[in-house]
Assembly symmetry: C2
Homo-oligomer: 333 residues x 2
């Protein structure tokens, strides 16, 4: 069953069938209707390979993420796929893990699959050393590269980022305004968004005239139990803190567990602000005040931008979206 069968049955040439297939306007309404009817009758589906060969596109976008089971990324994937599909594109998923080498390998793989663009979901793709990003720049020479919550400068590279810095600044400022003096900042990684968040924290302290003490900035892996233990050990080493801002809800959830088992009341004795407004913020008890990083808006904007790129429009290479501070039970502002 191919285009010849249709053309024969409809008494037209294959070119006409192809035109109908591609919505070419140079077909009379009568023949178009006839061809469509035959296609329907025969249950004809065009062969995507032959089509791809001719058009050199498969209407498929590669989505790369480090780990689709991460709460944040799982959401991003959902929204990206949804919005791509509503624009008539498929999504090939590629979970790369965290090794630079693997990322590069999968990048090549997606390129060789002739995807029409690659979306990098999450801030884990832009490396510190510029030369480690050359593989992205190289790919951008062929197809558009879209960063969701990451930023890289370059031709044919487009970023949509959340204003993490402003969000953390706001959260920290509010905590300071409501009387907190010893803010502890815990973070998981130093990616693009990670360093922005930290900068927001530092700026808030500076603007409020509070000292910036290195022991109040701590790293911890993204793990509730590990975070809980970290807080206990900080307590043990005598560090006093009346508020915690975490770069991820899992760390904030650890803080809640720490306070609950240590008999510290939330938010009276300890205020906690999480990040990402994930399911963990609702599972924690009390529920976490958390910064919503607007995944859906980020993804929708990314896809819209990409469609703009495809249609040759003049498109901003960077879009910033404001985060939302979701007030729940772990703060009293």
């Amino acid at each position: 069953m191919n285009i010849y069968d249709v053309s024969k049955k409809a008494n037209v040439s294959i070119a006409t069938v192809s035109r109908v297939l591609n919505g070419n306007p140079n077909v009379s309404d009568k023949t178009r209707a006839k061809v469509l009817a035959v296609m329907e009758q025969l249950g004809y589906t065009p062969n995507v390979f032959a089509r791809g060969l001719g058009l050199n596109t498969m209407r498929t976008i590669g989505i790369m993420c480090s780990d689709s089971s991460d709460l944040y990324l799982a959401n991003a994937i959902y929204y990206l796929e949804r919005d791509l599909r509503s624009n008539g594109y498929d999504a090939i998923l590629c979970c790369t893990g965290y090794e630079l080498e693997t990322k590069q390998k999968y990048f090549d793989l997606l390129c060789s699959k002739r995807v029409d663009a690659i979306i990098l979901a999450g801030s884990k793709f832009v490396e510190m050393k510029p030369r480690d990003n050359t593989y992205i720049l190289d790919a951008a020479a062929k197809i558009p590269i879209m960063l969701v919550n990451g930023y890289l400068e370059g031709e044919n590279i487009y970023s949509t980022v959340c204003d993490d810095q402003a969000a953390v600044y706001q959260a920290a400022s509010r905590l300071i305004q409501s009387g907190h003096k010893k803010l502890l900042y815990v973070y998981t990684s130093t990616s693009y968004s990670g360093s922005n968040k930290l900068q927001g924290f530092k700026n808030a302290l500076a603007d409020a005239g509070l000292p910036l003490l290195p022991e109040y900035i701590r790293q911890c892996r993204k793990d509730i139990t590990a975070a809980k233990e970290l807080f206990f050990s900080l307590k043990k080493e005598g560090l006093e803190f009346d508020a915690v801002i975490a770069s991820d809800d899992s760390l904030a959830a650890g803080a809640v567990k720490y306070a609950n088992t240590a008999g510290i009341s939330i938010p009276e004795e300890l205020s906690i602000v999480g990040y990402n407004n994930s399911i963990l913020s609702l599972c924690s008890d009390p529920e976490l005040t958390s910064i919503d990083s607007k995944v859906e808006a980020l993804c929708t904007t990314t896809v819209n931008t990409l469609m703009g790129v495809f249609s040759g429009g003049n498109v901003p290479s960077r879009t910033t979206i404001a985060a939302d501070l979701i007030k729940r039970e772990t703060t009293n502002f």
Copy 2:
């Protein structure tokens, strides 16, 4: 840059180049090395479209799930993609939502994309009414259909399921053995695995000679807060229960929150068993005893089975994997 460029530069025919590309053994080591060297030198990548046209396969598998941001499915997607990729296959993701019509539409779409198989992740794809599954059976006439944690009988349809019934049976029996008399079962949906879980619960009660009271079997949507409220309202209507078995961790997490705020001690006064061993079981305080439904094993088996189907092996149409009962703080057995 195509196969002709390579053949010219290597002084061989395109057929030989193609043979090298496809690992055909009928090429002398010398020419193989020469061709590979030229490919490397030219940075040649075969065109997947042309390849697909000839081979009629793209080495791509469609993964369908209702919602990739669901904790369980996010994990499944991760493992499926990983294992497919390690077998040289790409994964096209398709989040269908819960409408039957949408599922059918996306099914057709994936088929028309000429994927080599479709994996249905999660038990939401097999409908109650057999005629609503005909679209799956139709697709199975063309390509293998793999069900992860769902079961449907049919030619070219393969299922990998978790023994949910045995798992719930075991959990309920242990609770009964350790002195519980009033077990409450809460569930979210009546899918294939949903009804198996419930059956396990019923069997455990029956085998222990406990009465099966309908008010002890309740439905609730997959939402921590909704679950918490459900327990409060049950309490209010006077229902007494000393143990809760939930078909999902989110419901169990709701039970924990209920008990914490109602001042009911866990597990002394109330034991709780969750399902899926998700991040919620670690976020809850106390941590949830939960049934691990072995997503990774399920996914790996599914992919292995699929590879078996591709290689024409004789493959079981149904594989069952045992669940694990992970003991944590919400039970004392």
